[in-house]
């Protein structure tokens, strides 16, 4: 069977040729020397100005309040194109639940595709960066690195996604207001004035939003952030506010992270969530990383204190195998208690 018809190949060749014409050669070095495919870093073309990569995550879920299931949870494709030194375009396209194996057998009824991110970036210097398009909402740590190969657990704390929209369609401006030898203070402002480019399906969905973030980081020490967003919630037609704070510190063999989010609706109960996670990075041949996380969530109608403990194994630098147990997870929409496992690979 031919997977690629001649017209398709011609179209692909045309696109690549067009990008080549639009991409200036900035250096005299042979492109062959710096381009090519690197596992976990994508396919680099045109002297690294076009990068095509992504990741695949396959999840096994054995939770007591949902049917057992096994599925390729995410297949995500990134495309980065830098036509000029200070300009970049970035897109992330995701196929979810393409094939699911559960009590109903093998099916594709939950399959879907989404546009996770699509933006243009202008960065005239190290202290200023402007992005226009659809981006991840700059609140907290987890939301900005939520991809399965980058996080240590299969499950995601509610505090990182249940109190704000995970994506923002509009503008994000980052300004480095202080840069010391070892310390940065970055101020971020973001806003949304149009509908979401592709609905994120978040419990609190932005229709209009304006927010900001301050992040203080040290080169090899702790970093901490404060975030705030005021938004018109498309799901219940109210203006709401969410405040977040986060902390990350990798010291010696330990990585400690924590986040908290508080949602204050104009009417109704204030809800909030927080977690603390500890990861141990041993100098061991098998690259096994024990992980423990405690979370508290108050959703107004239910309270929950899930405890996650597990192990992440990194057989190669772009691959992670995770297995974890969850206890204390009753009465929420996350499936309850039990076991989760996943294999995630950056490509």
């Amino acid at each position: 069977m031919r997977l690629s018809t001649p017209p398709t190949r011609s179209l692909l060749a045309g696109v690549i040729a067009a990008l080549a014409l639009l991409t200036p050669c900035a250096t005299p070095t042979s492109a062959a020397e710096v381009d090519g495919y690197t596992p976990g870093r994508g396919l680099a073309l045109f002297e690294n100005r076009l990068i095509i990569g992504g990741y695949l995550a396959m999840n096994l879920s054995l939770l007591d309040q949902t049917p057992d299931r096994f599925a390729p949870e995410d297949l995500s494709l990134f495309v980065t194109w830098q036509p000029a030194d200070h300009f970049k375009f970035f897109g992330e396209f995701e196929a979810e639940d393409a094939v699911v194996l559960d009590g109903s057998g093998l099916h594709t009824s939950h399959a879907g595709a989404s546009l996770e991110r699509l933006y243009a970036e202008w960065e005239p210097s190290d202290v200023l960066r402007l992005r226009l398009g659809k981006m991840l909402t700059p609140i907290g740590i987890w939301n900005l690195i939520h991809a399965a190969p980058l996080v240590w657990t299969v499950s995601r704390p509610l505090a990182t996604m249940d109190f704000f929209d995970t994506g923002v369609t509009g503008a994000v401006l980052d300004v480095t207001v202080l840069r010391g030898d070892d310390v940065d203070l970055v101020a971020t402002a973001f806003g949304q004035a149009t509908d979401q480019l592709d609905d994120t399906g978040a419990p609190h969905a932005f229709r209009r939003a304006a927010g900001g973030r301050l992040e203080l980081s040290t080169t090899q020490g702790p970093r901490a952030g404060l975030s705030y967003v005021r938004f018109d919630d498309r799901n219940d037609d109210h203006w709401e506010s969410t405040f977040g704070c986060d902390f990350f510190w990798e010291t010696g063999r330990f990585e400690l992270s924590a986040e908290a989010s508080v949602n204050d609706p104009s009417s109704g109960a204030t809800t909030w969530g927080a977690y603390t996670q500890l990861v141990y990075h041993p100098r061991w041949t098998l690259r096994l990383h024990p992980v423990a996380r405690i979370e508290y969530v108050d959703l107004g109608t239910v309270e929950r204190t899930p405890f996650v403990f597990g192990m992440a194994w990194k057989p190669s630098l772009g691959t992670i195998v995770k297995i974890e147990g969850i206890v204390g997870g009753d009465d929420t929409n996350l499936g309850g208690e039990g076991l989760l496992a996943s294999l995630a690979v950056l490509f």
């Binding site: 005299p28 980065t80 900005l144 141990y280 061991w284 041949t285 024990p290 597990g310 192990m311 039990g338």
Partner: protein
């Protein structure tokens, strides 16, 4: 105790015990023999001194533009060059400048890759690094001191932050 709860507790306990019991890799904490390297830029680049912390930022690509006194408009992008993984010079450079091992750097770059930022270009030999740096405005690399010639300028790295 429910079936899933019991299963999760058992598996997690088993893995924590396995991790705790595994012996450290032989020599993992030992420092390797130090290699002698120098940092180089094109002679047209006026920078001749960098702090270690500045070099760290450059190789992590958190500093991406040269900040020279000539106030070039627009700012010239920095193109850091690495040698291949496993190279003795690269290992020594990472240990002394980035102060990180391969795995923690991989975790760092995995997260940057998700934001569309790639690690420094990798060239296969010090000679290739020298040729690239000599011909590329904005480039910076490191070489064995013995390979330095007039096609590149040496940058002194100051200790401390």
């Amino acid at each position: 105790m429910k079936r899933h709860e019991a299963l999760s507790v058992f598996v997690a306990a088993l893995m924590w015990v396995a991790a705790a019991a595994e012996p450290p890799r032989a020599g993992a904490d030992e420092r390797h023999d130090s290699a002698s390297w120098v940092v180089v830029v094109p002679p047209s680049n006026p920078v001749r001194v960098l702090k270690r912390s500045e070099l760290d930022r450059i190789y992590r690509r958190t500093t991406r533009y040269w900040n020279t006194s000539e106030a070039a408009q627009p700012a010239l992008p920095i193109l850091p060059i690495n040698l291949p993984p496993g190279n003795v010079l690269r290992n020594d450079f990472a240990r002394n400048v980035l102060r990180a091992d391969d795995e923690s750097l991989a975790t760092f770059w995995n997260r940057e890759y998700f934001q569309g930022v790639l690690p420094p270009l990798v060239l296969q030999s010090p000679a290739a690094v020298r040729a690239y740096v000599a011909a590329t405005p904005g480039a910076i690399g490191y070489l064995p001191a013995a390979l330095v010639d007039p096609s590149v300028a040496v940058v002194r790295v100051e200790e401390g932050d």
